[in-house]
Symmetry: D2
Subunit: 343 residues, 4 copies
């Protein structure tokens, strides 16, 4: 079968790989119908996240179950399913508390040995361990493209809003309008919040406006003044940092009101200077981390079905699996929001 | 000044009363611009809630501050304001916990000696104790009619949804589509829930549909079947009982899923048979009580300003204060949703 | 092997039964070292909970793993383990939310066909499905007797206190001082609450006093007056009803403060008259249901190890498995708190 | 009257000042019976917190009400009372949410113009604005010394534990065993947590042990190894940083488990390097800020009365008000935990 593999920074290939086989009783094998390219794939593409050359990448997928071990009860062969981007055991300390994203045996698709040596989903077929946790049936009327968002991008947007404690009537700022930031915008708006969406790319600001937010251009407007204007000078109740850069974190701490929350879904990997003085003075809660999509995926699907959420607008490119090298190049040039690859 | 007074079941009059005067440092006097007739006024009208003959009734109001004691800091003379339906001291055990609706010194407008001997607001003017807690400035662009809903009806709808713990993506059933039930429908929808709205009056079901809910006709459809159909057979996550009748409570317990919540904003005043067996078997949380509008009024105003909530559709009648006797008769015949009286 | 079986109200026998065998990959077989008789066994003994004659009863157990399927990872053959009283699948709607007690595939040990046809643990050996969810290793220094409480009685006590939302500094009343009620007393006290323990049996009141509570004799003292005296007249923050009788529920609603919580762990199975008027007037939260011990068992074990909780005082009888008929008779006469049977 | 005033770093004096007089309807004047020296007084003493020379310092106090404005209802002249360290208006955005520590009109005793120009309590008498919010009656059997802790030190300890979300059965580490850290130790232990108490001063570690904690010597033991040993390698559920130094924050982030909470009550005033990468990877919640003692003071008093908390052991010195200069010098040399000054 074909698989998109990483070889060196800036170099991905479509190569031939053996088809996966069931290894455990709760494994499934899925024939991929659609798989996305995500911001974290770009980290691999840039060499910032190191994986073994030749490893298959990708972690977003919708497909058809073609084989399932005897312990797989949630789905059956022939089902159209979507997958979450990582596995969870269901029985460890964290899983028993519903903290599936911190499962001690968690493996992430397409991230090499450091995250569990689980081959990626940008391929004709994918092996899915812990299929009862990872897979969900796609409702009949839902497109592959829409379902693709439940197990990663929109699940992350929902996680950010839920984890932040944002409530109907709150003012929520979202910094960074990539697909995840825009998903957070849509979820916050659907949850009854007034949303301030901040970026410097006009097209992304337009999508945010279409999702119900007030767009704020980072370079042309004064973010702090806008936040104050919307909140009687207090600052926003919640700021979702979907950037993962010290400048974004700094803005977040500044525009958030006393006793508010800064929720970081943008990735931080290093030490950095934080304005702890301001954070302390304002009694702000700062929380970060990967999204707990297994806890949220069913809710995302319900909201897709109800029409409360709709990611269609985020898909800017549909390409063939064979075009993966070009797709990565486009994504790297920031010319796309979500690229869907169809094997 | 003119005031609407209760005299006997079915008999209210418009009478002359002395204008109110400031009695305490945190009192205000408000010239009433709009005042509503509410379901709880009907309890008085029917004689089920006993008050002294000649007492001024009404507890929903928007008006202009014409006098304010030296300790009133939130508003000033000349401000257009709305009022919450009861007072709170701000310092007792309950107020310190934000449970303003259980303030030990709480007084409710227009409910006679049993609720604090505070004359009602269906009058040309009203005395407002604890003005810092009770009053809020009306945003300039907001109509009197819209603001009128913040301190009672929509505040109660928001309270019900917040107290129930309903979240975006949940399925929420609302039983009873009077103004409060319809407000709960609108809040639940605005909060990202899928809403099932149950009543037997076609017009009310239509308003619910316009508010984004799936209407269910109590007599023509099978409520339990509809609840199951929307939830994969599980039952709704939250059921808001806006009726206050044993049959409604029974339906609520039946259609709510295991570990779900039944939130009663419909008034219960007596002992009644409850299916504790079912409630226990399903680990349901049952919660009731008056709404904590002082805790929610600012959020309602924010949502009115953002356009997330809009009660305009609930106003079916606008009448003069002098027409109060006729207005009560119309409301008693269930021909109206909200009647606004304008002095 | 020997097994305690139910035959008719008041009649249990020790009979010979085939040893259990592994049926699924995540099954284990446990050789029982200690098993308890519980209040819910008494419901079976009285015929109020109907099960098939000849069915093995009992659901509390500590033992040694003698066989384990290939998917059992939490424990291994030879481990000394304790069991929770029911199974959970780990992947259904409820399990994913941590509501393990409402698992759609849950099976309870020793309760016949209505609760999943899972043979009981009052036997030489027990088959344990979903062993990864049900079993926990017993810490080396912990006695069988102590561990026995984690998977049922003390887990239920902890559940009651946690579910009630009781916090350090609250006043918590516990009605009914059987083993579960006394466990709730101990947990509430260990959690920093002031505890009022209500019963009419002097010995049980003494144990409650030893557990740090203020005992209140139901017949000789005025429970409402005691509750008021401890709370400045307000009523208790939380009332845990460990009785499951209309009179207890009525007392609970009366002695609980406005905005407080009534948590029912005593079992209700039928319709009954509830003072909804009072519950509504006081904005009380009423919650009931079986305990979610799988969510709490690890925490109970930690607190046993830390010495924060200690159930030793609850064990009043140790008897041989062969003495089960006599043990049930003793328990039925209310002469025991916890009887431990040792095969 | 006499008052302890700040003049220059290291220089406080006892000077004569005019007696305070009532200025507003909800003011009270209190004759001080006991007043404490606190760690934040030391910041002033060191000149790190700048206040006007000659300003009266101190913010912990117990005394007798000698005058009260007409709006003071919570206490009356002659009452023995304790005070919280700051005022709150009760009606602003934050107060209505129970966030009294972020009241927009909050004034802190003894901190000069930057915190509201409210003269301190290390004096014969003190003016108390917002007396209904600030003051509480001292229960008759409670000593001045014990009551003194409710409005500042122990209130801060309780705030830290409550804000952290620590629950019975959790493992809580407390870094820094000054009076506030030791109070947090006592509260956490009283709340059912297993407590790891970290410092480098043997006497303080001994007090922590007496309060039920496992002491860990910062220089002689490996804090991370101890935290791992107590938690099966996971790290503590909650770490309370009562130090306010980058090294403490770093330790906190390292020893806290995935999805755990770091609660900072130690003061941060500047930018500093934080290991955001680790915080993000572990999905840790970081929260800081001044304590909300007005929200917690009644609970502290209840726990003092119940004997669940007892600060007596924290008082190491009792001195006369006239000895204030010497008392500050002793405190500055870290020879004391709590010094109580008695006018």
């Amino acid at each position: 079968m074909r698989a998109v593999t990483f070889h060196a920074p800036g170099e991905v290939r479509v190569e031939d790989r053996p088809e996966p086989e069931l290894l455990a009783g709760d494994d499934a094998v899925v024939r991929v119908l659609a798989t996305g390219i995500c911001g974290s794939d770009l980290h691999i593409y840039h060499g910032r996240v190191a994986i073994e050359p030749g490893f298959t990448i990708g972690h977003e997928f919708v497909g058809t179950v073609v084989a399932a071990g005897p312990d797989v009860t949630r789905v059956t062969v022939g089902d159209r399913v979507l997958g979450c981007f990582h596995t969870a055991c269901g029985i460890c300390f964290h899983c028993l508390r519903g903290e599936y994203h911190r499962c001690v045996e968690s493996r992430t698709f397409g991230h090499g040995a450091t995250l569990g040596s689980l081959q990626g989903t940008q391929a004709d077929m994918a092996l899915v361990p812990r299929a009862n946790m990872v897979l969900r049936r796609v409702p009949e009327a839902m497109s592959n493209e829409t379902a693709l968002f439940a197990g990663d991008v929109m699940g992350t947007g929902l996680h950010a809003v839920v984890a932040s404690g944002a409530r109907a009537g709150d003012v929520v700022a979202v910094l960074g309008l990539g697909p995840v930031g825009l998903s957070a915008v849509q979820v916050a708006h659907a949850s009854g919040a007034t949303v301030l969406a901040v970026d410097s790319v006009a097209e992304r600001l337009e999508v945010a406006r279409a999702f119900g937010a007030t767009p704020v251009h980072l370079d042309e407007q004064d973010v702090r003044a806008e936040a104050r204007a919307l909140t009687g000078g207090r600052g926003v109740d919640v700021c979702i940092d979907a950037v993962g850069h010290p400048a974004a974190l700094d803005t977040a701490v500044r525009i958030t009101r006393a006793c508010g929350t800064v929720q970081c879904i943008g990735v931080y990997t290093e030490r950095l200077e934080v304005h702890m003085g301001l954070l302390w003075l304002k009694s702000i809660t700062l929380r970060g981390g990967q999204a707990n999509v297994i806890a949220h995926v069913d809710r995302v699907l319900s909201m897709f079905e109800a029409g409360t959420l709709d990611p269609a607008r985020l898909v800017t490119h549909r390409m063939a699996l064979d075009e993966a090298p070009e797709a990565y190049a486009i994504y790297d040039r920031r010319e796309a929001l979500k690229i869907v690859l169809e094997p």
